[in-house]
């Protein structure tokens, strides 16, 4: 993915650039809002990562200016510690996701990859999801694996749906909470793990290949059919 990073903390930016490059992304970095705006206008990015507090031009203003010009590239807004976490404000300004510092790098990666994917999948209104031999019918709300019906609770269905929509990509525990349970909150315990292990009982237990995989230090990933 081609990423534009607008971040004034040079040390943090260097780490992020290194980390993202290591994961195979190409990264352009701008240290001020005005430079970032110029780079973004030149185009050629899949995702923007924009810090809120920037010298020259505020991060939200940068996104607002680009959105006003009709540029629809997904943006992840980073907000600093101490600043009031105003997710609503960030999203209103045209941000597509919001991450509060301090955050784990894995969280950042998972979110921008999800954002990059959204661009491709949003248009298609699928009624069926498929991953390996796992099939989900969104209309009849049924799931089968290898032709065998799986009996899922409504929440388990949504959990699996989210994993399948993001198949082949890491999703973090907070992403699951935000998208499946629709609450922004910080679980102190292994809450999500228990739900995942329940889901595994139904999806993977009787099969040779485990589809739901744990990614250490990050979250979970559903194996994608290649």
């Amino acid at each position: 993915m081609r990423i534009l990073l607008i971040e004034d903390d040079l040390e943090a930016a260097a780490t992020m650039v290194r980390g993202l490059k290591e994961l195979g992304h190409s990264v352009e970095h701008a240290a001020t809002g005005t430079d970032g705006l110029a780079l973004a206008q030149r185009g050629g990015h899949d995702v923007w990562i924009v810090d809120r507090m920037l010298p020259g031009m505020d991060g939200l203003a940068v996104i607002g200016a680009l959105r006003a010009k009709g540029v629809r590239i997904p943006a992840l807004v980073l907000s600093a510690l101490g600043k009031v976490d105003d997710r609503v404000e960030g999203l209103k300004a045209g941000g597509d996701d919001y991450l509060v510092k301090p955050y784990a790098f894995a969280e950042l990666v998972a979110r921008i990859e999800a954002l990059g994917r959204r661009l491709g999948t949003e248009a298609a209104q699928e009624t069926k999801l498929k991953a390996e031999d796992l099939e989900m019918d969104l209309l009849t709300r049924t799931v089968t694996r290898g032709g065998k019906d799986l009996d899922l609770q409504p929440r388990e269905f949504r959990l699996l749906e989210y994993l399948m929509r993001n198949a082949g990509q890491v999703v973090t525990r907070t992403m699951l909470l935000e998208n499946v349970w629709e609450y922004h909150f910080d679980p102190q315990t292994n809450l999500i793990d228990v739900h995942i292990s329940r889901l595994r009982q139904k999806v993977d237990k009787d099969f040779k290949v485990s589809l739901i995989q744990t990614v250490r230090g990050s979250g979970y990933m559903l194996r994608a059919s290649v």
Partner: protein, 460 residues
């Protein structure tokens, strides 16, 4: 205090301007009184003159000019207050009777009235102001009848004297009053600003003195003192939090550091190094978790989230939390049940309330022994709504109930289990933010934590 300072005070300036207004208006009143008194006196004089002239004209008709002259002389003899003025002139301009030396040079009005100053014959007094009326008699005789206006002058003088004395007294008393009240006010304001300065220089305990008169200054001082109490409480709580953060973050940070140190020191292989790094990430995640919890609490306490309040149904929250924690409870063979009424409404921030309820249920699941039961409920109570979590765990001793709501406080019994001691402080902060009553009660056995939300008002 210097006098110049006194002169600059608001109260002194006010007093002086009131005084000026008072002086101008009393002068105006005095002028009006004197004008209307003069008018009244003139009218009286005119009445008397007309009456006398009537008598004289009767006499003239009956006895002619000589009779008239006689009557004038008679009247002048009998004039006890020596205020009458007469003058009868013959056709040749020769005075036939009267006490004026000559006809006044001043032209009479159309109605015959004239005001002039003249000396009188046989009167050793200086010239006096006279109000008189001229009459033309047949055959060229001229008659003037009038009265000295001495009264009007006297009244004017009396009024002016009263005005001068009255105003003099008023000015002296007013200035004195202005000085005294200005001094009192300046003293009170000085004492207030002294208090403020002592607070500025670091004495947070300093408070303003109340005079006990419950006047506007007392009210101001009272509000100021209440504000200082609140500020002091906030500063104190910030200090406590900072101390606690310093203390509670130092331990995991030290552990994190030494873990990395050790991994680097020994001749460790790539696999061990990787494991150490993963453990370090877990440590860092826990630290971030603590940070986020502190952040959530201070957000709740600052009220910054108030603009995100919406009307929501707490029974939905209760069911969602139960659903989220059900698998965890089941792992410990606990029964997690939900008891809710339908169509409940409260105003609040759903994410914060969810986090709050999750914190409480998290504690319950953590501390309730295997096979225990936990109940999440949301029911109407009076006008409000009670959301409660009751468990069959060990509970919290009475003496510790207030303490566990403070930040970073962990009861000794729980020191070994994971957690940051912030869960219940968030609960308290969120309860305060929502105007809800938080109470910890015995569930015999176990703990029952309840949040009583106020009646939903349309105000929000």
């Amino acid at each position: 205090m210097r006098p110049s300072e006194l002169l600059r005070t608001t109260s002194f300036r006010l007093a002086v301007s009131y005084l000026a207004v008072f002086i101008v208006s009393s002068a105006a009143v005095a002028a009006f009184v004197s004008w209307s008194a003069a008018l009244l006196i003139e009218h009286q004089v005119q009445d008397v003159v007309d009456l006398e002239a009537g008598g004289l004209s009767d006499r003239y008709r009956e006895h002619g000019v000589s009779g008239l002259a006689e009557m004038i002389s008679e009247r002048l003899r009998q004039d006890s207050d020596r205020r009458s003025v007469y003058l009868l002139l013959g056709p040749d301009g020769i005075r036939l009777a009267g006490n004026l030396y000559g006809w006044p040079s001043r032209q009479a009005e159309a109605d015959g009235w004239v005001k002039f100053t003249a000396e009188r014959i046989g009167d050793r007094l200086p010239a006096a102001e006279v109000m008189a009326r001229a009459y033309s008699l047949p055959e060229g005789y001229d008659l003037m009848v009038g009265r000295v206006l001495i009264d009007a002058k006297r009244v004017d003088k009396a009024i002016n004297r009263a005005l001068v004395w009255g105003l003099g007294f008023t000015i002296i008393l007013g200035m004195l009053g202005a000085f005294i009240s200005a001094r009192q006010l300046v003293q009170r304001v000085d004492s207030m600003s002294k208090t403020a300065h002592s607070i500025i220089s670091g004495d947070m305990k300093s408070r303003m003195e109340l005079s006990g008169s419950r006047d506007e200054f007392d009210r101001l001082a009272q509000s100021f003192n209440e504000m200082m109490d609140e500020i002091e409480r906030l500063v104190e709580s910030i200090r406590t939090v900072t101390d606690n953060i310093a203390h509670d973050l130092r331990t995991p940070l030290t552990r994190l550091r030494s873990r990395i140190d050790v991994a680097l020191l020994e001749d460790t292989g790539a696999k061990e190094l990787r494991e150490a790094m993963e453990a370090a990430i877990q440590d860092a995640d826990r630290l971030l978790g603590t940070f986020n919890a502190v952040l959530a609490i201070s957000q709740a306490e600052s009220g910054a989230r108030l603009n995100r309040f919406e009307v929501l149904d707490p029974s939905v929250l209760a069911q969602d939390v139960a659903e989220l924690y059900e698998p965890l409870a089941q792992e410990k063979n606990q029964v997690l049940s939900v008891r809710v009424e339908k169509a409940l409404k409260i105003s609040g921030d759903r994410h914060l309330l969810f986090q709050t309820l999750a914190n409480v249920v998290d504690n319950s699941v953590k501390y309730t022994p295997c096979g225990g039961h936990i109940e999440i409920s949301a029911v109407k109570s009076g006008d409000g709504v009670v959301v409660a979590v009751a468990d069959s765990g060990p509970g919290i001793p009475h003496s510790e109930r207030e303490r566990v709501l403070e930040r970073f406080v962990r009861l000794d019994a729980t020191r070994t289990s994971p957690g940051n001691g912030l869960g219940l402080s968030l609960v308290r902060a969120v309860a305060d933010l929502h105007g809800a009553d938080l109470s910890l009660e015995d569930n015999d056995p176990g703990l029952r934590l309840s949040l009583t939300f106020p009646k939903l008002t349309n105000a929000r």
